[in-house]
């Protein structure tokens, strides 16, 4: 955490004062006060916030005209659609919804009809809002004056305000309590009815940049991890709190466990909604556990289910064509909506799609009020993870190179033999970007799957032919992948086919010098003796060729194979090459070194 802005904020707070909740002198990190605050909290809520109890989605349409749409997820029906220029996320209370329009007005509507209940001008920049039952809480401010305001959701009547000289983040609310992050150092807990300061938690090990209330829990934390707001949270320390974080790949995941409460952009529907971690958690003993041991990464069109403990990929889901502009973890489903208005839900355990519906219009943002909703549609069987990963890797959308690299790397660990073919397609495609190509090559070589040998051989079997327009691609890579199977037990017939294909490329003049080295090494790895004769010929034929004078490359690799896998006859051949003046100097030197680095025991065994 950056200390300088914090020090400045603290200095301002000390100098200017503020409401009781946002002073420096409060009694922080008191387990008893925290316990007392919890005692005021209402019973856990198990369903949606809205009074009807229906699972709802509130969708913000940008085209063909700016509209706000209320959609009943269970009935798959629009409840209403009204013109609205929504500029913030929609928050949902029991009997109202609220949002900002044109960044200057706070607007509340009737959730049943969409009719405007009230509208009020904002006097400062909107930071974020939360709703709980009949009350709306919102934060505005900037510079040295920040205000948390409570209002009645149906009427807009102001109930109380709490001023702060230091930055306040977007609040959360649950069961009669309001939770407000304060200068990224504290989480202030206030009475929702009166605004009275009840207690505060001061983060000691890490800053507090988000707070999130679900029906049954309140979580807070930062990029680093998640604290459950319970009695133990009063320690302010990870080790003594109910705290957890997930193991996630860092290549493409923007790791943050909640929307940054201090970033006004994240109070709007933005790219942050398309690139986030979805999770639910609970206490297990003294530990925080992610529900199902799972966290889900949503990144634009893709969802990945990870084992929270190991970071292992459990499943992948690719949404066709359109970006998914918003998503939410509802407990037993991950709900989402695409920019084309396709609503969906995924089983967080399997990645199977378990719901689909459609709303009209170009959708820019969505708020789900559907906690605990479990779609009852017949689920589509989830596609095999390897299939989804391969499709992601081949996706023509050029924006997602990091995701594709991750998909390719993850493919290497998938058991399906089809994966090898998928990786080969990526490698051989002319449209594959260089970085993705490299990742696919690494994955292919890392697989070391003996069952894939027929696929590799089939890909390698093509020989160059000008007349037919046949130009083998990625010969060196395929050879490396075959060579990586050198220590595996291989079907003798398949091994023979592989050796024949490799010898074909060794002899083909079209094989590039770079590929040739891989071919020679692969022959050495799996040749089982059949490689010796062609490699002897190769060394003799090219030892005097100036093509190999600067870079001995394949000739050197062939010499290595001959001295390590051949017998006395091959050592004599290499010895001849090392001494004959017609051999290129670099080849002579290489042959001499190769002989020196290997000695022969009686009986011809090298060591």
């Amino acid at each position: 955490m950056s200390r300088r802005p914090l020090a400045l904020a603290l200095a301002l707070a000390a100098a200017c004062g503020g409401s009781e909740a946002f002073k420096l002198t409060a009694d922080d990190n008191s387990p008893d006060r925290l316990e007392a605050a919890f005692a005021r909290m209402g019973a856990p809520r198990t369903g949606p916030m809205n009074a009807s109890g229906r699972p709802m989605a509130y969708l913000v349409a940008r085209a063909p005209r700016p509209e706000l749409v209320a959609f009943d997820l269970a009935d798959k029906k629009e409840r209403w659609r009204v013109p609205a220029r929504v500029t913030s996320k929609v928050v949902v209370g029991a009997d109202f919804i609220a949002y900002t329009e044109a960044d200057k007005d706070l607007v509340a509507r009737d959730p049943a009809s969409g009719a405007v209940l009230w509208q009020s001008g904002l006097s400062a920049r909107f930071i974020g809002a939360a709703a709980d039952g009949e009350r709306l809480f919102y934060t505005t401010g900037g510079g040295s004056r920040w205000v948390l305001t409570a209002a009645t959701g149906r009427t807009g009547k102001e109930l109380w305000t709490a001023d702060s000289p230091g930055a306040l983040g977007a609040p959360a609310a649950r069961g009669g309590l309001v939770f407000s992050p304060f200068v990224k150092q504290w989480l202030a807990v206030l009475d929702a009815r009166t605004g009275d300061a009840l207690t505060r938690v001061r983060g000691i090990d890490e800053e507090i940049t988000f707070v999130r209330a679900t029906g049954s829990n309140v979580f807070f934390g930062s990029r680093a991890g998640v604290f459950l707001l319970d009695r133990r949270a009063a320690s302010g320390k990870r080790a003594q709190s109910t705290y957890g974080n997930a193991t996630l790949p860092r290549e493409f995941v923007r790791i943050h466990y909640g929307f940054d409460a201090f970033d006004p952009v994240q109070a709007t529907y933005s790219a942050y909604d398309r690139n986030r971690i979805l999770w639910n958690a609970h206490r297990e003993g003294r530990a925080l556990r992610f529900d199902g041991g799972r966290v889900v990464v949503h990144t634009y069109r893709f969802f990945f289910g990870f084992d929270a403990a190991t970071g292992g990929l459990a499943w992948a889901y690719s949404h066709p064509r359109n970006d998914v502009i918003g998503s939410a973890h509802l407990g037993s489903a991950i709900a989402f909506c695409s920019s084309a208005g396709q609503l969906g839900a995924i089983d967080p355990a399997t990645g199977a799609r378990i719901y689909q519906a459609k709303v009209q219009g170009q959708i820019a943002g969505v708020t789900f009020d559907a906690d605990g909703w479990a779609p009852v549609e017949k689920p589509e069987p989830p596609q095999p993870t390897a299939t989804v990963l391969a499709a992601i890797a081949r996706d023509p959308d050029a924006r997602f190179e990091d995701v594709k690299k991750f998909a390719v790397a993850a493919l290497a660990h998938q058991g399906s033999h089809q994966v090898t073919g998928d990786l080969i397609v990526i490698i051989q495609s002319e449209s594959t970007p260089p970085a993705l190509y490299e990742a696919a090559v690494e994955s292919l070589v890392a697989r070391r799957d003996p069952e894939s040998l027929p696929v590799l051989v089939a890909a390698l079997d093509m020989q160059p032919d000008f007349l037919k327009g046949a130009q083998p691609r990625s010969v060196g890579v395929l050879a490396r992948a075959i060579g990586s199977l050198g220590k595996a037990e291989l079907d003798p017939a398949q091994r023979g086919r592989a050796v024949d294909a490799l010898i074909g490329h060794l002899r083909a003049p079209e094989t590039s010098a770079a590929d040739l080295e891989g071919v020679v090494s692969a022959l050495g790895a799996i040749g089982a003796g059949a490689e010796i004769a062609p490699l002897r010929r190769f060394v003799l034929m090219y030892r005097a060729d100036p093509t190999f004078s600067n870079q001995v490359g394949a000739v050197g690799a062939a010499i290595d194979v001959l001295v390590t896998r051949g017998g006395p006859a091959e050592r004599e051949l290499v010895s001849y090459v090392s001494e004959d003046p017609r051999s290129q100097g670099s080849v002579r030197d290489y042959a001499s070194r190769a002989l020196l680095q290997t000695t022969t025991r009686p009986g011809g065994k090298k060591h």
Binding site: L467, L540, S575
Partner: protein, 275 residues
């Protein structure tokens, strides 16, 4: 090709692997050294002086002794600088010995296209049907000079199996196909060549048709007339040149319909109108 079947290479390798003293660089000769000029050439061929080795190879090509042939085959089997290898292959082409077949096949796959082309030309010189598949394979080579050597070999050997690949190469615009197809053409093939107008480069088709007309053995005149008319359909300047060459190469008498039509077409083309 199986490397193990390369006679001379196996022979030399047998020497290399079985004669430790040779492998260690001691000058223990594997065969009785021939005396005189061939002996000197043999030494030069395996020496470090590239130009001397190149001259030696040329000399051994003119020699008719078995020792000279063995010297060339052994040198190629042990590996030569490409410049020397080309000269050695040219020498083998001059010797036209089936004994060189396996070595030539091995070198027809060399990474250096000049070497490959030399090997193909040498294969073409050997009167042995086993060379044919290797000559035909050269038509599939990625390098134009090797395909040209293959095309010339197909023409020289009158290999009918080479006609289809040559036709494909004609459409792809390979220059060497024009003289090769012209050499192979009968009236039917000439008709097929004419049908590539609009698919193959105009100038190349014109040269091929002109080459056919230039062959005294291409008959009857009705077939020549068809070729002339095909040239008339080609707008490229090359067609006019080929027609002009044909007219000037054929005497007025006895009169030939093909010559007469060629003259008319020339007039038409010079007048600015083409058919």
């Amino acid at each position: 090709m199986s490397y193990r079947s390369v006679r001379s290479l196996s022979l030399v390798l047998a020497l290399v692997v079985s004669t430790t003293a040779f492998a260690q660089g001691k000058k223990k000769p594997a065969r009785p050294q021939p005396a005189g000029q061939v002996g000197e050439a043999q030494k030069a061929l395996v020496g470090a002086d590239l130009d001397a080795a190149t001259r030696a190879a040329a000399l051994l090509g003119k020699d008719r002794s078995q020792a000279g042939l063995d010297a060339l085959l052994d040198a190629l089997a042990l590996g030569l600088h490409p410049q020397v290898a080309v000269a050695a292959l040219d020498a083998l082409a001059a010797r036209k010995k089936p004994a060189a077949l396996d070595t030539l096949v091995a070198y027809s796959e060399h990474r250096n296209p000049k070497v490959r082309a030399g090997a193909v030309s040498a294969l073409a010189a050997i009167d042995d049907r086993r060379t044919e598949k290797h000559i035909l394979a050269a038509l599939h080579d990625g390098h134009v000079s090797v395909r040209a050597a293959g095309a010339a070999a197909v023409a020289a050997r009158k290999l009918k199996a080479g006609i289809d690949p040559l036709m494909l190469l004609l459409v792809k615009g390979d220059e060497a196909t024009a003289p090769a197809l012209a050499a192979l053409a009968d009236p039917e093939l000439a008709k097929n060549v004419a049908e590539t107008i609009g698919k193959a480069p105009d100038a190349l088709v014109a040269r091929c048709l002109g080459g056919i007309l230039a062959r005294p053995d291409f008959k009857p005149d009705s077939a020549r007339v068809e070729v002339v008319r095909a040239l008339g359909r080609i707008e490229a300047q090359e067609a006019l040149e080929q027609l002009t060459t044909y007219v000037s190469s054929v005497p007025k008498n006895p009169p030939r319909q093909s010559r007469k039509e060629a003259e008319q077409l020339i007039q038409l083309k010079l007048g600015g109108g083409g058919k």
